[in-house]
């Protein structure tokens, strides 16, 4: 292996390591489409009765 090829290989490996350390691989996973609910809020089933409603006014 030539010295240039060795350098390229080392460079690629270093970039991959840095990406792993920085969480770059994790960042490719799908982003959640909704923020988590606050602990004081729970989702109700579809057939739940409501006591009040938020609406456009």
């Amino acid at each position: 292996m030539s010295s240039i090829a060795t350098l390229r290989w080392a460079s690629t490996l270093g970039t991959l390591l840095l990406a792993l350390l920085a969480g770059g691989v994790v960042a490719t996973s799908p982003k959640p489409s909704q923020a988590p609910l606050h602990p004081s809020v729970t989702l109700l089933p579809n057939d739940a009765t409501v006591q009040s409603k938020s609406y456009v006014s």
């Binding site: 923020a35 609910l37 606050h38 989702l43 109700l44 739940a48 006591q51 938020s54 006014s57």
Partner: protein
Amino acid sequence: MSRDLASRHFSALGSTCELLALGVGQAALERCEQRVRAEEARFTRFVKESELARLNAGDGRYVPVSPEMFAMLEAALWAYEESEGLVNAAILPALRAAGYDRPFGQGLSHPGSSEPMQVPGLPQVLILDATTRSVALAPGAALDLGGIAKGALADLLIDELGNDAVCNLGGDVRVRGDGPEGDGWHIGLCDRSAVAVRDGAVCTSGTTRRRWGQSMHHLIDPKTGMPVRTDLAEVSVITDFALRGEVYAKCAMLLGASAGLAFLESRGVRHAVVPAVGKGDGALPAAA
């Protein structure tokens, strides 16, 4: 004190209001309704004698204002900053030009202008002087505090209803307590889903009401001065305070589905949406 559910419904702030409370009597709800009506009289833009109308007619002069008005104007400036200029109380001239120049229930007489109009940034036209508790509004500028007042008043008036209550002012809902079933108050969202909330707010914005003419509605895009063209019909958000919810729901509507939902997600805000039918007309909600 009884844990019976007390409720009161009435028309105010140009919409329907609902007060619910456990452990307090009807008298507390009646007092709260009177507060809503008093604040409506202060913040309406449609009555010449209201404090807001007098401020709008100030023509650049410093006008002494009540503590309530001063606080609401501070809230309007906060909303402007928090929304990066999207929620701008200075849109009133554009709203009038679009045809919304009288209470909606009286019927709007003309379709309004479809020409773009420059909307000044609120901080550029509004100066608050805390020392003298007075306010100056630039000549030609005028404020609409409708949405901001609903949210801010819901946050304020929940205190009048005890520790287990709902203050729903035209869809801006502030909630506190465990509710009748013990898991929080059950609040419906725009997409017909529902959440139980113990302490927080649920607010909805949209273009499905207050519509007139061919495609006119009350949500003004401050960048164009015209009713916004958006691919969302309605957005509900769940937040800590109703003022924040009012601002964030309106931001999402104005930004549209892609940027609007990213805006909410970047702030950790849970939401529900109803998309508009067609592309960007904001005309009709999709079938639920």
